[in-house]
Each structure stands twice: as C-alpha cells, then as structure tokens.
Subunit: 483 residues, 2 copies
C-alpha cells in the first residue's frame, strides 16, 4: 500500500484553483488553515489513527471546501473539471476502511454545512435530507412525528445520511427493516461531469437499470451525493426483547435460520460466541452462562404480531436446545450498543484492534468462523479473536469478527494489523463467504474486492468508473482496484 | 418511431458471420429457416401483433442462434465483436413493450435451449437456473421441495427467469415477497466485451456499487444474462383470503395505506375500480357490489401471524368504511389470474387494447388515476378506460390501467394505440407518478423514460451503455433513448 497516496500522482493544487473556488462559493467556504486540514486528514480507520498517534507524517488536502447547497457543489465540480483537480467528498468522517486519505493534490469537499432537513412527508412516509445531515438528527426529526427511518448503524451519531448511502451502510435493525439500499427512495447527486441527477421518482420502477446503485456504495468515486430521500416507517406499536443461551454456535445458527425461514423477522437478532458473551454481558450472565453463547433478539411491530412472534421463536429455541438467558440482556445491549472504542486508548495500552464484518451463506458460516478464528490465533501478537453475528438473511448471515493484538513496540502494529486483515479476508473468501458485509471497501479492502466480484467484475467496475469519471476526479485511489 | 428499425443503420449480416457462428456452436444451433425467424420476429407487444395481423411487412433477424451453454453464449458474443454484428437476446418472448424487434442486421440469441435447473439448495434457500428456464418450471421445481420463489408475474408460464431479471419484473405476490430485485441473489452474464461475470456472492455486500443492477432492467442492452440464482422461501404454513367493497377509490387507498403503514404485508392486495369489478367479478358481485370498487387480499405466513393480520385488517377496513365482499372473490382471482387476452381476437372484433402500469406516491395516486382516465376518455375511439392497483409499497402504490379502443378500419388502430400510451405516460408524469412500474421500457416507453430519469439521468444511462457496449452490439434500438 502506498500510504497516504491518492493514487493520482498529480501535483499540488495551485492558488488559481483556490481562487476559482473562492469566487464561486465564497471565501469563507474555502478553508486552508492547518486546523481545518488536520481535522479532516482521515476518517475513523484504525490505521490512519495509528499513524497519526505515532506522529507519522500524514499529508493534508490542499484545501477544504464547505458547500452550503447543491448549487455550490456543482460549482466546485465545475472548477475541478476545468482545472483537473481531484475532489474527496467527506461526510462526517466515520468510515473505518480508509475512504478518506487526502493529500496536497486534492480538495476535500466537506458536506457538513449541507445539513438541512428538507421535507418530512407523513403520508408517503418519505423524508428528504441534505447529504450532510447527521444520522441521529435525521432520526430525531422524523421521530418527532411518530416515525422512524429504522436505520441504526452503530455510527448513527457520527455519520451522515449521505455517508450511509455512499458506503451502503447497514443498521442494527436490518433484519426487519432492511439495509440502506432497501430504505433509499431517491438520491440527488452531482456527477463528475457536473450534471445534477435526481434518481428515484416512484415507489418502484422498471425504467431501465436502477441507476441509484451507481452511487450507493461508490464511496465518493462516482460523484458527490448531495441529497437523500429515505422511506420511513411508523414507530412500532410494541417492542419486546428475548434472549437465549446457545449450546453451540451451530445450534444458534440453526435456530436463527429456522426463525427467518419460518418468516419471522425480529429486527435485531444477534448471536455472540462464548468469548463475546463474557466481554459484553459479564455482569448479567456470569452466574448462568456456563461458557455458552448467546442469542439476543429485539421484536417490534403490531402487538398481536409481536406476541405471535415471541411464542413461535420460543418454541423454535426450545427445539434447538436453547435456554432462556437473563431478560436484562436485551435492554442492556440497547443502552450500550453505540459505544465505539477509542483507538488511541488502546494504542496507549499497547493494543491495536479492529472489527471486520463479512457474510456467508448458512452452509458456509461455521467454516468461515472456524477458519478465521484459527488463522487469527496463529498470529503471536493476537490476544483476542472472537465474533458475533448481527444481520440475518434468509440466505445466510454476517459475521462480525473482533481481533486485538498486543505489541510493546507500536512500530510493529501496522504490519500485524494488515496481516490480520489479510487473514480474515482470505480465509473468508476461501470458505465461500463475502468479504465485505457493510463497512464498505475504502483503501483497506480494495485489494480483496476481487474475491467478491471476480476479475471480470472488477474490470466492469473500472469501466463504469472510467465512463462516469474519465478525468479521475472523484476520490482517486479509493475503492476501485488498480489494474 | 422508426418502425422495426434496430437503430443501427448497419447492413445485413453476411454469410461469413453465420459460418463463424456455425463453427463455434454447431450448425444445428444456427437457424435461418423462415419459420424460425418468423416465430421470433417480435415479442408480445400489442403493436407488433397488430402490424403482423395486418400483414404489414415485419423484418426478420438474419439468423436465430440457440446456445446450449454459457460457453456458447460467450462464443456467440466473440463472433459478434469480431464482425460487428448486433445481437438481440431473446428469452421466451413475453415482453409487452417491444424489446424484441430484430431486422436483417442482427442475429437473435434465443436462450430457450438453456433450460437447465442447475441447483436447488434447501439450506441456503437458493436456486440456480439457466436463464432460459421457464418461470413455472422453475417454481414447480422448487415447489417439489416445499419451497417457493414467491415471484408470480402474470406471464409466469410464458416467461423465463432470465427475462424476469432483464426486465425488472414484478410478481403478483410482491407486497410481501418483493419484486425480482429483492429475490435475485446472483446473476451470471456475458458482457458485450465477451467477459463472463458472476455478480452476487453473499447474502449481502458493501463491496462497491451493486453491479447486478447494471443488468437488472437492462433488457438485453448491457449483455446477455445466462444464469440466475434466486432466493427462495418456504411455502407458507397458511393461506387465507379476504375481500372488501370500497365506497370510493380514495377510501380504498386510505385503507391500503393504513394496512402497510401498520406493518401488515399481505402478499396480494388489489384494488379494482367499479368498472373492473364488473369486468372481473360480475358473477360473484352483481347482487351486492352496487357500483362500488373492491379490495382483494391474499394473506400468507405462519398461521398465528395470518390470524393476527386478518383481525387487524378487518378492523382497519371497518374504520375506513369498507364492507365485506363475497368470500369467493379471492379464490376466483387465484384461479383466473394468469389469463392473458389474445390480441388477435380483439383485433378481429375491431378492438385494440393494452394495459399500462405506472406508480405513484400515495398523495399523487388519485390525481394520476383521474387525469389518465379523463384523458383516455377524450379519445373518441376509446370505449373502456379503467384501472386497478396490484402492488403496494409503504411509499405509494401502482396503477394498472386498461384501455380498449374500437376502429372499424384497423389502419387507424396504431395511431390511436400510440396516442393512448402517450396520454397515460404524460398525464402520469404531470401528476407526479413514475411512468414504468414493471413491464419495462422496450421501444414503447423509451421516449418517456426521461420523465422518470430526467435528462441528466438519461445521459447517464447512455454513458454507461457506451462504456459497456462501445460497439453498440447488444439489442440496439431498445430501451436507451437516442440523443
């Protein structure tokens, strides 16, 4: 990995470019002060934080621009086209795969000043937002009307609705409410050509390929998402929790599969391995867990349906040898679910850690789990390797691995970190899983996308990118594997 | 409309091309006999049938090729690339928008010989098919294992699984089970470059843009779909029916909206206007309908959930002034739902007719209905203009218009037909609806796609097409609006 390179090889952004930007969107929207650049020199990627903590030189963008409107984004793209200046779209910086690594050859487009709630339509259950609206503000705005987006990524308080779309995010309640691609109604975006598109006009369409999917998951490489309309739900009439100890991962997966194959869809269904039960629920479970795993469910919907679901799932649990776990487990998870670790605190304790989410069909998931955990444990420095699953589909399930490695000398952390990632990616692919469930690709997963897409799929992605962005202006170096 | 032109302007396919094809896939797979060409000279589009019935000259493809494997499709594409020969992919010919209009400059690729059921995976609920497998055969194959695809287009007995994907089809049970984009797990396709892609490896992925969507809805313009893997469901534990008279369309829509906003999802929920009640259910309803509309529901799922749903929907119906309709209505619809009219029979009775499906957010749907019906009635020849809705979403609903026009002189039918289409498209767009719910675009809707995509969206579609298919080899003249 060429660290901190955007892959353009082009030079520094000149003063003429900045003058053009200042003229078009106003001087105050063009920031070149060290603090503004430093604050946006990377996203939440562990490796960027590690390098920063170790005082390794991290390059800065030439400037940060803060458009206040879609029109200003178009003006910025116009300058980029005219001057051949690459742009790095930046939401709220919560990405964890290195989608944001600017350098002096680029201008960073911070969408944080585009934070208007445009419209909430209670009849059609639609809400339109500027791309920069923070997730929790969006949710709170619709919650005041008794509605919900139903999209609860762990990052909800530090991510933007535009970021959700750009990274193909998944929320904790996805099993019932879907992932972001199931929630997006329309996308407003400025293409690398400078054109403004509004894609998605109807509840459903068969009007050629669904072009919204060119932007969903593109991580800023196909244009700049400026606005998002999301489909809403009413807040559920009832919420209930249930929790069961699982005698084995296998029994837990079998029960989960039976639940969704029987057409029950509790929005949250999380299975923790025995290690993660201790790490997350020790106070509540130490007397009863006996080294078992745990299946935690949240049920939502009309009361009558929730009742029927609780009964049916209780019967399934019994059939698969699951036993009731303490009732407080669910509410405890709800209360603490968005705690995000501080990488810096870990580094200071000589630890480097990350979570890696993959997915697999039901018949492959145990093999993926076993192979990944075994491979991580081969690494001398690794002190923790564990997993839970958090998103369930009729066709399979995700796995969310955690690894923690210890090094007295922080200089060794980067190689260990990248080595652990390589192991998880390669073992997952070898066992028939998909290497990227919901954190996106960024620079971190870029070399491994070929496992999901195949060589021809990667070539197709490159071809689409070249067609939309022939000058390579949009977040160069991110996502799209090099030839 | 340049009738029967593929838009390529290129000449006739030469003998050298046919020799290359014969060499690569075998002589018996290359058909040039008049009957083979005539059988595949158009799809189920009314206008093609009308022209054919009137003995207007309809051009034929230079040849029909019948590949038996994905490898043979690749071989055909290789010949196409080397010789600059356009290809028209052909499933089972049930399209109704003119996606198939070959001429002597093209070779038609009939996928009907690719009809293998590749695998049924009962654990992961996945079934893989050759693209040419007929829909009902696919459904019957999984039904033998107690499973269902849950995708029931009216054309199920005359359409192929590859066609479903290529046209972004919708099934009658979509309200619970989703449309084809919700059912597709992976797509195997030969791109215009000749490369074979296998897109979709995991239950869900955030591995860049979801490239499956370049092929879904592309109607053969972005490559040839050769294989499809669909996600299955278990057959439901219980099925139940209910039916209500609606005092007005408005009350019916309000009740339907309340049902889905309360998170009940009966797979089938169809509202018929008063005219269509007479047309479809006269025997059953003549004593009680009193010029009212009708809401017909099919409920499926675990018995406990079906019971809860029936109760909840009964209460909603009452609240909105709906009254019980005869119980036989639902089973009657089930038994007759896939009857497709014979255009020819209508022509012989001096009638030309079609159905046109659009969609709209809830707040626009009545305006669309009123404007379209009023506009159709302005046409002197129109004798019937009516509608029902058949697909419900939280954000809105579709409308399925029927028009019938009468002309003693069949020479007048084409202009009336196209005029009626124009009225429906333009009134729908003017009132804020989407012009294409699920029949796709073909040549018929091509001029109206701009209403959904905007000019910039159409330009984007063209750009993607040019990138994937720079030689313009794939179904030229179809779908993609001209510049």
């Amino acid at each position: 990995m060429k660290r901190a390179s955007t892959g353009t090889g082009s030079g520094k952004v000149g003063e003429a470019v900045l003058d053009s930007l200042r003229e078009r969107i106003g001087e105050q929207q063009v920031l070149t002060g060290a603090e503004a650049l430093r604050e946006r020199r990377h996203d939440y990627w562990v490796l960027s934080h590690l390098q920063s903590w170790r005082d390794e030189p991290l390059p800065l963008a030439a400037a940060v621009v803060r458009p206040r409107s879609t029109g200003e984004v178009q003006a910025i793209v116009r300058t980029a086209i005219e001057t051949g200046t690459p742009l790095v779209p930046f939401g709220l910086g919560s990405g964890v795969c290195g989608g944001i690594r600017p350098d002096p050859s680029v201008v960073l487009v911070d969408l944080g000043a585009m934070c208007r709630i445009r419209e909430i339509d209670e009849t059609n259950l639609l809400a339109s937002f500027d791309a920069g609206v923070q997730g929790l503000e969006a949710e709170n705005a619709v919650a005041q009307r008794g509605l919900t987006i139903g999209h609860w990524p762990q990052s909800i308080a530090i991510s933007s609705v535009g970021g959700w779309v750009s990274t193909r995010a998944a929320g904790q309640f996805s099993t019932a409410y879907g992932n972001i691609e199931d929630i997006v109604y329309s996308i407003e975006a400025v293409l690398p050509s400078g054109e403004l598109v509004q894609l998605g006009k109807a509840p459903r369409a068969a009007a050629g390929p669904d072009l919204r999917h060119l932007l969903m998951g593109a991580e800023g490489t196909m244009g700049i998402v400026t606005g998002v309309t999301l489909a809403l739900r009413r807040q559920p009439q009832q919420r209930a929790y249930s929790a069961y100890y699982t005698p084995s991962l296998s029994a837990g997966f079998d029960a989960q599969r039976e639940i969704v194959h029987s057409e029950w869809l509790p929005p949250v269904m999380r299975q923790y391995d025995a290690m993660e039960v201790v790490r997350n629920f020790h106070e509540l479970t130490r007397a009863t867990a006996n080294d078992r795993g745990l299946l935690l469910l949240v049920h939502e919907g009309p009361s009558a349906r929730v009742s029927a679901e609780l009964d049916a799932i209780g019967a399934i649990a019994k059939r698969f040898g699951l036993e009731a776990a303490p009732a407080e487990v669910g509410p405890h998870w709800m209360a603490h679910r968005n705690h995000v670790p501080s990488w810096r605190e870990l580094f200071e304790r000589n630890l480097v850690a990350d979570t890696i989410e993959v997915s697999a069909p039901w018949t492959r998931v145990e093999a993926v789990y076993d192979a990944v955990i075994a491979s991580l444990r081969e690494v001398d420095a690794v002190v923790i390797a564990s997993a839970h699953s958090s998103h369930v589909y009729r066709t399979g399930i995700n796995l969310y691995f955690t690894f923690v490695a210890r090094h007295e000398d922080s200089a060794e952390m980067e190689a260990t970190y990248l080595g652990c990632w390589r192991r998880v990616m390669e073992q997952t692919a070898r066992c028939g899983g998909g290497v990227a469930h919901h954190h996106g690709a960024g620079r971190l997963r870029k070399p491994y996308l070929v496992h999901d897409l195949g060589r021809e799929g990667v070539a197709l992605l490159r071809r689409v990118k070249a067609a939309l962005d022939p000058q390579g202006l949009m977040n160069p170096g991110n996502l799209i594997p090099d030839e």
